[in-house]
Symmetry: C2
Subunit: 338 residues, 2 copies
């Protein structure tokens, strides 16, 4: 099949690779209808993470079941499915406790920007729609593979509560879904930190009541002014850099929680402040499968348009241009059509 | 008055210092009936924290109100009171949110091992008993000034829930109260990490169902065996060293929370594990005043004997011996009689 592969820093290609094949009875093969590029794909793209040249890249996709292993009984070829980027059996002790990203049979989508993807633990992982969805709904459904549940996990981990104040650090797609999720969870004041007009616009559409374009100290001061000097009840850290994490802890009020979903890079946690101010940190890799059913219901009910984060669509052939556009922040999130 | 003062590493003296005096209308002076030595007093004692030679030391006490400022209306001379080590107005926006240790008017007991203590924000901070308590109850009431609420804060921060499994790292007095608190909050399996027989005995009396005497890797393996390979639902970190914190995160199951109450010293948080396993960290300096009423009720109801952690009582004159005994782990916790 044709798949996106990474060969070095800023070296993305489309290569012919072996078709994924069923090797365990829990596997399924999905023919990808739409994939996309994740902010976390930019880490290896930028040379910040180690890679093996020639490896496939991409972990977000939706598609149609092509083939299933013997133990996959709830899905059959032809089903339209959302593929959570982290696969889980959804039955183990950790899954039962709602920690699906700690599943004892954890797996990952390895070729989300390609023609086909292998899903390990298909029975536990996949979520299907009733019949084939409208074409117009595909982008919104695609967000359920990772970015929407990840933003939602930030909000849940930060313990966003109805009527409270939430600050979202980061205006990437995850941050924008943090805004939407804080809104879905009932936050009354949602402060989005963003200095990019198109992202600010989506943030507002997703429920942000305030935009803070400043950074660092000035950003903290702006949040403190909006919150009458109190700080935020909940902070969603949706970047993963030291700068964003420090900002997150500085705007968090005593006793509150920072919800973390940005893969951490070079962070030194402000432990002294965490201790004296009782500001906690929770979150991590999202238990995607846990959230998909409720978020799918929200998507199908209408009233929200998560798919609008995709401001660029490329064919698989042009996937490298998609990476460039995201790397240069010309695009918020790029949809890839195989 | 006579007060305990610190002059250098392992140099504790009893000195004549100025009597505390009312300087704000929110102040009160308490004549100390009993004080005690805190594990955190050992940090400066051992030279790990900076000190100013001659400063008073000690922050845990109970006593009788001697004098109150003009704005203190709920207490009068003669009232027996528990003095939370961290003083708060109990009315500010942070106190109302249950984060009393982040009070905008935060203060601290500065001379808990002395004849008198000044309480700033007396109206919000003090909790009185109905009349003078029985002499036999004094040690248990004294635990409410810090060590019991601090252990309780570890359990609350770790989100101990009925029927769950809690691991308590640290067998100092705070750790023992972590055990008792996990028990009060309904944990079914309580694993105390302790290698000291007298502490193990109290841990069992406080509700520990299992004792792990091993350390580091062996301790982690022991917990994993007890929990059928799952790990703990809640972990109480009651020490504050890097070794104890690493152990705490290693025994925590995916999605769980480490409750931190040991003042952190030289800790490097395992952020990668926290992220991939969704193990959070919450806690810090305890909002003592928040917990005192419910814990006082428990103490007065009987059935628990928190005062038994005091295995050595010294007169104020002999306070230096009390420090030595705790430093050398000959005593778990030392009560000081002025």
């Amino acid at each position: 099949m044709r798949a996106t592969t990474i060969h070095g820093t800023r070296d993305i290609r489309v290569s012919e690779v072996a078709d994924p094949a069923i090797s365990a009875p829990t596997d399924a093969i999905v023919k990808i209808v739409a994939g996309c590029i994740c902010g976390s794909d930019l880490w290896p793209y930028r040379g910040e993470n180690d890679i093996t040249p020639g490896d496939t890249i991409g972990h977000e996709c939706v598609g149609v079941v092509e083939e299933v292993g013997a133990e996959v009984t709830s899905f059959r070829p032809g089903d339209f499915v959302i593929v959570p980027f982290d696969h889980c059996d959804n039955t183990c002790v950790h899954c039962q406790a709602g920690a699906q990203s700690g599943c004892v049979n954890l797996g990952f989508t390895q070729s989300g920007q390609a023609e086909y993807a292998l899903v390990t633990q298909a029975e536990g992982s996949l979520v299907k729609t009733d019949g084939m969805p409208d074409e117009a709904l595909i982008p919104s459904l695609l967000t359920l593979a990772d970015v929407f549940p990840t933003g939602y996990h930030a909000a849940v981990s930060a313990q966003v509560r109805p009527g409270g104040t939430a600050v979202v650090v980061g205006d990437g797609a995850v941050g924008l879904f943090g805004v939407l999720s804080a809104s879905l969870l009932g936050a009354e004041t949602i402060i989005a930190m963003s200095r990019h007009e198109p992202r600010q616009e989506i943030a507002r559409a997703f429920g942000a009541t305030d935009i803070v374009a400043e950074r660092d100290k000035a950003a903290v001061e702006a949040v403190m002014e909006i919150t009458d000097g109190v700080g935020a009840d909940a902070v969603l850290e949706c970047v993963g850099t030291d700068q964003s994490m420090q900002t997150a802890f500085r705007v968090a009020r005593p006793g509150s929680m920072v919800g973390m979903v940005g893969a951490p890079h070079g962070i030194e946690l402000p432990l002294r402040r965490m201790f004296t101010q009782n500001i906690g940190l929770h979150g991590g890799m999202a238990p995607t499968r846990k959230y998909i059913p409720e978020l799918l219901e929200r998507v199908l009910a209408g009233g929200i348009d998560p798919g609008r984060v995709f401001d660029l669509t490329v064919s698989l052939d042009d996937v490298a241009e998609g990476y460039r556009a995201m790397d240069e922040r010309r695009a918020i999130k790029v949809l890839v059509r195989p």
